[in-house]
């Protein structure tokens, strides 16, 4: 992939560049918003790693050009004090985020998820997603867990479908509310109870979830790779 790193700290770029190059990517770098916009306009990019704390621009202002003009995937790299901006960036279309400081393996895993999803989107929209244990059939509205059909209510199904389509990536509370209730301003308690019911039906131990992970303050992440089937 062609990856643009946007970060005002030279040492971070210097560290990420050789790692990404060795993973087979082409790497570009921008130190501020102006350089980032120039790169978005001139290079064809597959993915942008965006630090929200830029000296000249609000990082969120770059999301639109990244998604609409460059059509690139976007992973937000944020320091913890920019929590609110991070959620805003995800709601506005960022694909995922990593918190600083991050483990390099985790970052590479997130990059692979974006890469995989970009390949999927390039193909036809899938109606069936499968993993080793789970099958989701969107046309038939069926979920099968280890060979056993799982009965989900329409709302549970809508929430699960969104999580499974974005498997491996974070899905914000707002996105889930829109999927389940067609409104972004639903009482957070409703969402939490539906996620608890989904865990009851899908997790081996709902008190120690392994499939549906909570991302505190952000949303949920479905921690299983669901491959699309056509």
């Amino acid at each position: 992939m062609r990856i643009l790193i946007v970060d005002d700290e030279e040492p971070i770029i210097d560290t990420l560049r050789p790692v990404l190059v060795s993973a087979g990517h082409d790497v570009f770098a921008a130190h501020d918003g102006a350089q980032a916009l120039a790169a978005i306009g001139s290079e064809s990019l597959d993915l942008v790693l965006l630090d929200l704390g830029l000296p000249d621009t609000d990082g969120c202002d770059l999301i639109h050009p990244i998604k609409q003009i460059a059509g690139a995937g976007l992973i937000v790299i944020s320091a913890r004090h920019l929590e609110r901006d991070k959620v805003r960036a995800l709601d506005e279309g960022a694909d995922d985020y990593v918190d600083k400081p991050f483990s390099i393996d985790e970052l590479l895993a997130r990059i692979r998820v974006v890469e995989r999803r970009r390949a999927e989107i390039a193909g036809a929209a899938a109606m069936r997603y499968v993993s080793e244990e789970l099958t989701l059939d969107i046309a038939r509205r069926e979920v099968v867990l280890m060979g056993e059909p799982v009965h989900l209510s329409p709302k549970e199904f809508a929430l699960f479908e969104l999580l499974a389509r974005h498997s491996g990536q974070v899905v914000t509370q707002r996105q889930l509310m829109i999927a389940g209730w067609a409104s972004p301003v639903v009482e957070g308690q409703y969402l939490r109870s539906y996620m608890a019911m989904l865990r009851d039906k899908l997790e081996a131990d709902p008190s120690d979830p392994e499939l549906i992970l909570t991302e505190p303050g952000v949303g949920y992440r479905f921690n299983v790779v669901m491959r699309p089937e056509t």
Binding site: E9, E10, P11, P18, V19, P101, F102, S103
Partner: protein, 490 residues
């Protein structure tokens, strides 16, 4: 309205007397109709001057006097013929009616005048109160207007928990009864010379106001006037309290925002080196990643660099902590400034060999009271700052001069200089200039230098831009002390 009652009665009596004499002459000149008219005129003038009650008294007195002294038979009440009765009855009726009508007219005119002047007074009070923006000013605002109304003093006490607080003086009274009655007040209150009114605000009782009066409060109107003044005072006090709450809330929001900004700045500064270290160490240790040996070496050196950066930040934060706690004066020793300046230059040269540092140190030794390690740190911060922001443009000059009582250490760079309001802020904690970028560090170097220098009774000042529109000079002055051979430390 201005004449005193006694004076008024005296004038009324004179008028009555003049009218009586006039009537007497007219009567002697055998002009009974003129006599009656003169007396009647006197009664009407009194009614016009002094109102209904005086007019009626005057009318009755005139009637008796006329009957007893002037009309036949004199010195006797009584009527001898119908001829005498007619003018007497006509006089009595005319006098009483005239007194009634003119007196009543006069009274209502006076009431109207009083009401108008009261309204005007209330308006003045209200205007004065409008100008008060602090609760302390409310009492002062009315002090100038109220005494005219027979009030000698106004004291406002506001409830604060269980105590009472007088905003104009700042006194706090814990004995709730004392401000209420005061030392001598029980006698004053019992004589009606002090009035206490509760100040009622929209959110309940605010406290109370105490009026001291020049004469006892008797009429009902006087007390209702004090009530209206108190209501206006309560409004003014409440408005001021709300304004203060608003201001406090604004300050709180601003300081919260400042704290947030500081916290995010520190968090960014500390997290960046950790991010680099974690990512680089992860890449070196990961089984998924294999890098050419020269890249591995670069990652290792950047780990070491970032560890040094983190160490520097930690040391700076500790120094800030030291300054905030306060540097003890008894830990200071006599230090040789020439030596310390030389050490600081040597230290900076070792870290930044590419920068040219020119030294121009006056023949020494020069001694000052300081902590050697902290003074060196302060100077290193200043020289480091100079090379960071002006080092590329030419040499950094460090000079030491002896001004008699003080030593002047100047660090001059040839960089672009500091412009606008940034100059005032360079010594502020966590301040980073706009053009500093990533090399700005945490924004603590100058703050620490200033804190240390001031702990040694010295001063620090920045001149920028210098003649020619560029360059920055930071001047440190330290009081010199006589050499102290027994504790020559450096």
């Amino acid at each position: 309205m201005t004449s005193q009652p006694a004076q008024r009665v005296a004038i009324d009596l004179s008028i009555f007397l003049i009218a009586f004499i006039g009537t007497h002459y007219a009567q002697n000149a055998d002009r009974p109709i003129t006599a009656v008219l003169v007396f009647l005129t006197g009664v009407i003038v009194i009614a016009f001057r002094s109102g209904l009650v005086s007019a009626l008294i005057a009318a009755i007195c005139a009637s008796l006097a006329y009957n007893f002294l002037l009309s036949e038979p004199t010195f006797r009440f009584g009527i001898t013929s119908a001829d005498e009765a007619v003018p007497l009855i006509a006089f009595n009726v005319a006098a009483c009616l005239a007194a009634l009508m003119v007196g009543r007219l006069k009274d209502s005119a006076r009431e109207a005048y009083e009401a108008q002047s009261e309204t005007a007074f209330m308006l003045t009070v209200s205007d004065r109160l409008q100008s008060a923006v602090k609760v302390e000013e409310v009492e002062t605002a009315v002090r100038g207007v109220i005494p005219r109304q027979g009030v000698t003093s106004v004291e406002i006490f506001l409830a604060r928990g269980k105590a009472y607080w007088r905003p104009s003086t700042g006194e706090v009274e814990f004995d709730t009864l004392k401000p209420l009655v005061g030392e001598e007040a029980d006698t004053a209150i019992s004589r009606g010379k002090a009035v206490i009114v509760e100040l009622e605000g929209a959110r309940g009782s605010l406290g109370f106001v105490k009026f001291r009066l020049s004469e006892p409060l008797s009429e009902r109107r006087g007390s209702s006037k004090l009530q209206s003044i108190s209501a206006m005072l309560a409004l003014a006090v409440e408005r001021c309290l709300l304004l203060e709450e608003l201001a406090e809330a604004r300050v709180r929001v601003r300081s919260e925002a400042l704290k947030d900004a500081l916290l995010s700045s520190v968090s960014h500064d500390l997290r960046t080196p950790i991010t680099v270290i974690q990512a680089a160490a992860g890449a070196l240790g990961s089984s998924q990643i294999s890098l050419p040996p020269e890249e591995n070496a670069r990652l290792l050196s950047s780990i070491l660099e970032q560890c040094a950066r983190l160490d520097r930040y930690t040391a700076e934060l500790l120094d800030v902590g030291r300054i905030q706690v306060g540097i003890a004066q008894d830990g200071l020793e006599t230090v040789n400034l020439t030596e310390i300046v030389g050490l600081a230059i040597k230290h900076t040269r070792a870290v930044h060999p590419q920068v040219t540092i020119e030294r121009s140190l006056a023949q020494g030794p020069h001694y000052a009271q300081a902590n050697a390690v902290m003074l060196e740190q302060a100077l290193v911060n200043l020289i480091d700052n100079a090379q960071k922001f002006g080092g590329g443009a030419g040499p950094v000059t460090v000079s030491l001069a002896n001004d008699g009582s003080v030593a002047r250490i100047a660090i001059t760079d040839r960089g672009p200089g500091i412009h606008g309001d940034e100059r005032e802020q360079v010594f502020t904690r966590f301040f980073k200039g706009k053009r500093g970028g990533a090399k700005a560090g945490m924004g603590l170097g100058l703050y620490i230098a200033k804190g240390f220098i001031e702990a040694f009774d010295g001063a620090i000042a920045v001149e920028s831009p210098l003649d020619g529109g560029s360059g920055t000079r930071v001047v440190v002055t330290l009081p010199l002390v006589a050499s102290d051979d027994t504790s020559m430390a450096a």
